[in-house]
Symmetry: C2
Subunit: 409 residues, 2 copies
């Protein structure tokens, strides 16, 4: 008799973005003439840059001729892309990585979800709160998160990030957390971590033999030169951290699907009897068994963003979104709201007015200004009392939305 994996049944039935869509649809049905502007979902809107388009056409043409046709690629990704990554994303920051420490994937969501397969089912996990839901949900599915009680999972250590602590999570000095998820620049708060603070995490991890899963999906949005783009800028991080990168937000690849994961060869985890097992070959085995590489066309597209033209074009699109971010931040602040992020990240995290809460403000904004934001509580208990705005809309729509908010307040 096939028995179901009952851990799945612990997951709440509601999905944040499905709930939002339902409420937005209900509004549209009763207000058919309203022109609703979404600043909710973190999806890009600007077209792929010309260098990428050119590379995709070229790769497609290669697939049309027998002499240049490509079948299965390496599960770890093509070397042309892995070299470009080493040369452009790491070497300029003084980080030396080997080619086989880079694993190209079909986007960061897959690997941030799958990476938990490498660790024992009963390891404890720690997350900053609020947080990208995939980190916790992927652990719930294997039983590692325990059971949900009052919005929290019993085997998860939550590290609140709120205006009160300046969005700096407190290191759990008094307890040993086996695995910690960090995401900087942060989704959803849009805040960043300084080198000094990140150093504390690396030191904690080295001291406690903790594994850090570091999500750097938004690093391309960093403008402040003192903010680290990679955890490997910190000494010792190769011994304790796996890092996730994505082209989704860097180059608008949410529909193209390409990213990569770094698993340093120095990194190891413990066996029950105290042996040390390097994780790089384990991840390689995982990928070779359950993944067959991402599309050749997508990998050529990713390579193109590292060309001189590609770099310039990608920078321009990021600038476009960051102009939106600055507009949103300054408008909200000008209206007297407490707003955060938006300086090194495409997200603005806003405290809702006294007496309101995440969902109530979401609803008020939708009905009052026909603008969609994301209720912060959807990202975890410490997100209650906040909402998230994204800067990924067009300039025109963003300006229109802000004008409506100004009028509505």
């Amino acid at each position: 008799m096939a028995l179901v994996n009952e851990h799945f049944l612990k997951l709440p039935n509601n999905y944040l973005f499905a709930d939002i869509a339902k409420k937005v649809n209900a509004f549209k049905v009763t207000h058919p003439k309203a022109n609703v502007i979404s600043m909710g979902i973190g999806d890009v809107t600007q077209p792929l840059c010309p260098a990428v388009i050119e590379a995709m056409h070229k790769a497609t043409d290669e697939m049309a001729a027998q002499s240049s046709f490509r079948g299965y690629g390496p599960e770890q990704g093509y070397d042309f892309l892995r070299y470009a990554i080493l040369k452009n994303d790491f070497a300029p920051r003084g980080i030396h990585l080997d080619l086989d420490e880079i694993f190209v994937n079909d986007g960061a969501k897959s690997d941030t979800g799958n990476i938990q397969e490498l660790i024992r089912w009963d390891n404890s996990i720690g997350v900053t709160d609020p947080i990208y839901p995939v980190y916790i949900d992927s652990n719930v599915m294997i039983g590692r998160a325990g059971v949900q009680e009052g919005g929290k999972w019993s085997n998860v250590v939550y590290m609140p990030c709120t205006a009160e602590n300046g969005f700096v999570p407190q290191i759990p000095e008094d307890q040993h957390v086996d695995v910690i998820y960090l995401c900087y620049p942060n989704n959803p708060t849009g805040t960043v971590i300084s080198k000094q603070e990140l150093k504390k995490w690396v030191n904690y991890a080295l001291k406690n033999d903790t594994l850090i899963f570091y999500d750097a999906a938004y690093e391309a949005y960093i403008t402040d030169p003192d903010i680290p783009h990679s955890i490997y800028e910190i000494k010792g991080a190769k011994k304790c951290a796996i890092e996730f990168h994505s082209y989704s937000k860097t180059a608008g690849f949410t529909g193209v699907r390409c990213g990569y994961t770094v698993v340093p060869k120095e990194l190891s985890a413990s066996t029950l009897d105290g042996g040390r097992i390097p994780l790089n070959p384990l991840w390689n085995r995982r990928q070779c068994t359950k993944f067959n590489g991402t599309s050749y066309i997508s990998q050529r597209a990713a390579e193109a963003i590292y060309s001189p033209k590609g770099k310039e074009q990608v920078r321009r699109t990021i600038g476009y979104y960051m102009d939106n971010a600055h507009q949103i931040l300054s408008t909200l602040k000008g209206l007297g709201f407490q707003a955060y992020g938006g300086e090194n990240a495409p997200y603005i995290w806003m405290k809702v007015p006294q007496g309101s809460d995440s969902w109530k403000f979401f609803q008020d904004l939708l009905y009052g200004a026909h603008v969609v934001c994301t209720p912060g509580v959807g990202f975890g208990p410490s997100g209650e009392g906040y909402v998230r705005f994204t800067a990924f809309g067009s300039k025109e729509q963003t300006e229109e939305a802000l004008a409506r908010i100004e009028k509505w307040v």
Copy 2:
């Protein structure tokens, strides 16, 4: 302290195709002038068909303009492709499926590996032997396969498929196997299953509440009108089977990455206390959490194979490979070998001469004819004494390889 998932350590260190590559390289080093022809790895060699290339260019151009740009697609795949699948792969065979029973993916390897997440870690599994290694390895990684002893896993029920039983696996009537993997047309043996035989499996599954994972990756190669293309051609199969499809071999998409999985809404599994849980929403939850859809360009490419032109062009390429298959089969038989498959599948499974074994024959063929085959024992204990030839080479290379084999024997 982060503890490693020690189940990974049970996996043997050698990978079949890596071992082959090593031996082939050793040969090439000592025989630099030899022109080695590979009939080993099951990868396609012919270019994508013109209808697919056209669709990919068009999709790329859409991504270049703001008005037609696509960001995140649905995790389940775009409706245009899911409709094309329903209309072309199932409706003509009298199979009615709903749109939300189709989950588009980045190739069958991912989903045949990931599907085991839906079931309890201690369910027993059954496999036909020889078998595609992903089925077992993905279960080893979660601890479900037990430990390896003498080439077999302790918690896996092996159902031998050999010349002696006509490659028809015996149904384990005397025991309850919770989950069974079937692959037809079969990789590696190239043999098929009749409707009558498949009916027995469905009946066994319904009687024992067994879940069948049915891999139909090679169904496009079926030429015999009596052989089922889908397990859902059998009454009751929607209550007990998940089916995997792939465009890799159908349309040469090994580098493009697209396939799909069917999870019928009628299908359910049991909880420990006897409740029934439908698996369709669980798989949906899994995909929404750990997958973000495959590339938009790849999905448009897949859609194009269902157009009248696409169908015709794909059929021609399959015919090309099947001509190779027939050549290989008849040549080997003509040389007095016992050879199987190759009539409804691109694989030929050959018994090695008395006194030889899988690896010895592989080595003899490499050194004697400079031709690479795959040792059958790499696919499981019942593969010992066989080798696999693939029909995916070019016509010229296949003919040259066969001429060399004729000369060598």
